[in-house]
């Protein structure tokens, strides 16, 4: 089945003329039609638009033009937080109404330049706020391994679509774990690049100083390929780093002998599911067997990460989401004056979690509270970053579980925001520190069979190292070859 291919294999076949881009796309669309009524990864997709793109690629292939493009004919699903010209952009919220994006995000332009088919709008928690997709204003995406369970979030649609082979790969965004956590819960690879590695232009901002766009893929090689495509400096994003991105696939040599891997003692704590703990320990042993050196490290300010995150992220969000006011685009609920129009529009357009975070963010920035909350949080954020930089003087990468537990059931935590927030406990620090991280499958729980994710954290711009280690582990274990039962009966 063509939809089950990796990026590397699909592009190779299209390049070689063994299959057409249209055939690959059709296989994906057929599979979406078959399984997505259950998985509900896609908010929408424009079949005709995708087929036009695929057709164009096929013509180019027939003319032997630009065959070396890394994503030649590969359909890539897009989280509903990225601006794609001519497509709806809703951020899984009601407030954007019928808004159609008038421009391509930089990453979308890069996908097109690399020969990809930009395909569909993937479900998410509204404005990327959440860990389960239950905060989507439209519907909850289901975990392909167990439809009773959530896929994680906020990029739950992106993770589920890859895990269920509805797409060859997808893009998501990660502000506190929104790529790595759903990747772990759905059993695929998800990578959050170093802050500044990938342009944010065209990504609807949740928390500008934490947001990064990253890939969801079926294996590590694909993550390296897709990361390579979307990385690089962008004149439209002042926070993107003026450095040329390396060819990440060159790091995938399987040789991790002598690399030092840190195990933070603060991460092996209570609340960690025994099966998750066992899987991570086994993974660490595997890495040791392959010649890596494992040392215990300390990240002493770990305990403060969740609190710091919910101050900084909500403060930035309170300003970022102010533009959704009903004046220029999206939903409008009329009022007698602007204030009433704003209140009614935003009251009707935003969901409960988004409102909760806007209120929290507004509060922490208020006159008289700024120093106690926002300023203090920024200081602790610096300490958290220093923890990591200090640790990286000793080690090349850090290994942790991606999540404390495997996928939980829909509704299980949706009434308890704090419990939901704690499901990101292992992923949040990475964004606060601005470093890179990825999650890849490292085993399964027994009953039900649910994926477990291994998180690798790397130095700033150290994506090559974590990809190298992850690749060695993946090739030695083969967990990534396990497929969920959905659509296979």
């Amino acid at each position: 089945m063509l939809n089950e291919l990796t990026i590397a294999e699909a592009a190779r076949r299209v390049r070689a003329g063994e299959t057409s881009a249209t055939d690959v796309l059709r296989a994906c669309i057929d599979h979406v039609k078959k399984v997505d009524p259950q998985v509900k990864a896609f908010l929408s997709y424009d079949e005709a638009d995708a087929l036009v793109q695929a057709n164009a690629i096929d013509h180019q292939v027939a003319a032997r033009e630009n065959l070396e493009r890394p994503l030649l004919g590969v359909p890539i699903g897009i989280k509903d937080v990225l601006s794609v010209k001519g497509h709806h952009l809703n951020c899984a919220s009601k407030i954007l109404g019928n808004y159609v994006a008038p421009f391509d995000a930089t990453v979308i332009q890069k996908l097109r330049d690399a020969g990809a088919i930009v395909f569909g709008r993937l479900n998410m928690d509204e404005f990327a706020m959440g860990s389960s997709t239950e905060n989507s204003a439209f519907f909850t995406t289901r975990n392909p391994w167990d439809l009773e369970r959530i896929p994680g979030g906020s990029s739950g649609g992106s993770a589920a679509a890859v895990a269920a082979d509805e797409c060859i790969a997808t893009l998501g965004s990660d502000t506190g774990g929104s790529i790595r956590q759903p990747a772990a819960l759905c059993g695929c690879v998800g990578l959050k690049p170093t802050y500044g590695r990938v342009s944010r232009y065209g990504l609807v901002a949740f928390a500008s100083s934490l947001d990064q766009i990253g890939p969801f893929t079926k294996d590590i090689r694909d993550a390296a390929i897709l990361l390579g495509v979307i990385s690089g400096h962008d004149a439209l994003d002042s926070t993107s780093i003026p450095q040329v991105a390396p060819d990440y696939t060159k790091a995938l040599d399987g040789n991790i002998k002598g690399l030092k891997i840190g195990l933070p003692r603060e991460y092996m704590v209570g609340g960690l599911d025994p099966e998750v703990k066992a899987a991570v320990s086994a993974a660490v042993e595997n890495l040791q067997k392959q010649g890596a050196e494992v040392v215990e490290i300390s990240l002493p300010h770990t305990d403060y990460a969740v609190a710091v995150y919910y101050i900084i992220a909500t403060a930035e969000a309170s300003a970022n989401l102010a533009r959704f006011d009903g004046i220029r685009y999206g939903l409008r609920e009329d009022g007698a004056d602007p204030i009433e129009l704003y209140s009614k529009t935003r009251g009707a357009g935003f969901g409960a979690e988004v409102k909760r975070r806007i209120i929290l963010g507004t509060y922490v920035l208020s006159s008289g509270y700024y120093d106690a909350f926002y300023l203090r949080a920024q200081k602790v954020r610096t300490l958290i970053r220093q923890d990591f930089l200090k640790a990286f003087e000793q080690v090349d990468a850090i290994v942790t579980p991606t999540t404390p537990t495997a996928a939980f059931k829909a509704g299980e935590k949706s009434d308890d925001p704090l419990q939901m927030y704690l499901s990101d406990i292992f992923t949040i620090s990475c964004n606060l520190a601005g470093i890179c991280g990825l999650s890849l499958p490292c085993g399964f729980t027994k009953a039900p069979k649910l994926p477990i994710g291994l998180q690798l954290l790397g130095k700033p711009f150290g994506e090559e190292t974590i990809l190298k280690i992850a690749h060695a582990y993946e090739q030695a274990t083969g967990w990534h070859k396990e497929k969920p039962p959905i659509g296979r009966i």
């Binding site: 421009f103 609807v204 500008s208 930035e316 300003a319 102010a322």
Partner: protein
């Protein structure tokens, strides 16, 4: 008890850049509504700002012109408030780390030099413009994202006249420096006032009252002329003034309460995460500094001191920079700056206006103006003949000496020729002769005029006078 006013001004000035602050849209006044807009300045979902480097340069340049320090670390912040003309519902501005601060402006006021200290000049973005129609409202976002400099003064101003004079001096500096065109009618300059009153001699300040909505400098003066007596009267009556923001109504000429301190916005400033802090290096600052021009007041003083020009001439050269530059180009080679100034101001400027010619298109060379002055000084031609020669020079670009020779305009200094003209004049004007002899000295001028006329203006007037006098007294 006598009261004094304490006034500080916040002046917003649109910077003269080609494009807007965060995007490539044109910074241009008068385009059709919502034609100079793009996703960035409309605040569409997913966009990011990229700072306009020329705006950063003009801000630093303003710092140099206003004697400010330019910190090596500046940053942008978000100022949060909801209003339909604000595309993002926050304004990107500089809160606690402005691009430039701690300067001053010196200007002429009441016969002396006054100084107003500048607290800071920070860079921010302009907002759109609301329009209200019968049944609905619209917003034009062409102005949204235009770079705006906010220049905040210390409360060093003590009267409405001083405020008015300061604003004009500031405007002159900004126009001089190429910072802004400062066209009030196009809304390029806007001003808010902070004013309080206190008993004369008291140190602590009274309740600060902000006045908004003045759309001209004279509006500022009128608002203060209303507000200061109002505050004094309130205080004199024993009423306590409270911090508030008032709106100036230009039609009725009064200020009215807009919002009290309790209703003041909490702007919830925080650092703009989409922009890196701005840390100019030596080379960047040196390049900006090289663009700093001489300020109007300094130029005026220099013209007065270096060339011994009267104030009025110096002012003319301040008001018309190009003319002043032309003067300086000519005067360098001259020993008689005042003569050069007279020719440039009285003759050249008049001819330029009359013929609608630009200074750059003047046909004669600056050296030829000096030649003309020399011809007068060496008495080859009289000043009135010089006017004719100048008109010729201006029209043709010929050298003055050439014109004098070709047209035979050289002064007659040959006494015998002048004596002949004098005899003719005396013979033809018995009444003037009689008047003069009766003691009316002025009658000599009439006779002198006749001599000049007979000589077709070429007689040396002094010589003519001497000869006439000698003959009449004989």
């Amino acid at each position: 008890m006598e009261y004094e006013a304490v006034i500080g001004l916040e002046t917003h000035v649109q910077l003269k850049t080609h494009s807007k602050m965060w995007c490539g849209c044109a910074n241009e006044f008068g385009a059709l509504p919502n034609t100079n807009v793009c996703p960035v300045c409309l605040g569409l979902p997913g966009v990011l700002p990229v700072a306009n480097e020329e705006a950063l340069r003009l801000t630093a340049l303003t710092g140099y012109l206003l004697n400010c320090e330019i910190p090596r670390f500046a940053k942008f912040d978000r100022k949060n408030y909801f209003y339909p003309d604000a595309p993002k519902n926050y304004q990107i501005t500089q809160y606690d780390k402005p691009s430039t601060q701690h300067g001053f402006v010196d200007f002429e006021f009441q016969g002396g030099i006054a100084r107003v200290r500048i607290t800071r000049a920070h860079l921010e973005e302009d907002v759109g413009k609301n329009f209200h129609f019968d049944r609905n409202s619209g917003v034009d976002f062409n102005r949204a994202g235009v770079p705006l400099l906010e220049i905040v003064s210390e409360p060093d101003i003590t009267s409405s006249d001083m405020a008015y004079t300061y604003l004009n001096a500031l405007k002159d500096i900004l126009i001089y420096g190429g910072i802004s065109d400062c066209d009030m009618e196009k809304g390029m300059v806007r001003c808010d006032v902070n004013v309080s009153v206190r008993p004369k001699g008291q140190k602590e300040l009274g309740a600060k009252i902000e006045i908004k909505n003045m759309n001209s400098f004279s509006g500022v003066r009128r608002a203060l002329d209303y507000e200061i007596p109002r505050q004094i009267e309130e205080v004199t009556r024993g009423n306590k003034l409270r911090q508030e923001t008032r709106r100036w109504d230009d039609v009725s000429g009064i200020t009215e309460t807009m919002r009290s301190k309790e209703q003041a916005h909490d702007y919830r400033y925080f650092p703009e995460p989409d922009l890196m802090p701005f840390t100019p290096d030596d080379a960047w600052l040196a390049a900006v500094k090289a663009r700093a021009v001489e300020l109007p007041l300094a130029r005026k003083q220099r013209f007065i001191n270096t060339y011994q020009l009267p104030t009025s001439d110096a002012q003319t050269f301040i008001d018309d920079v190009a003319l002043g530059d032309y003067f300086e180009g000519v005067v360098r080679e001259s020993k008689n700056p005042k003569a050069v100034a007279n020719w440039v101001i009285n003759n050249l400027r008049a001819k330029l206006t009359e013929s609608q010619t630009a200074l750059a298109d003047v046909k004669f060379k600056p050296a030829q103006l000096l030649e003309l002055i020399a011809l007068v000084e060496e008495k080859t031609i009289s000043t009135s003949i010089a006017q004719t020669v100048f008109a010729d020079m201006f029209a043709t670009g010929e050298s003055p000496r050439g014109i004098v020779e070709a047209k035979g305009l050289a002064q007659v200094t040959d006494t015998s020729a002048i004596e002949k003209f004098a005899d003719e004049a005396i013979a033809a004007n018995p009444k003037s002769v009689a008047d003069y002899r009766a003691g009316k000295v002025a009658a000599l001028n009439a006779l002198k005029g006749q001599v000049m006329k007979l000589s077709k203006g070429k007689a040396n007037p002094n010589l003519a006078g001497e000869i006439l006098e000698r003959k009449l007294k004989a």
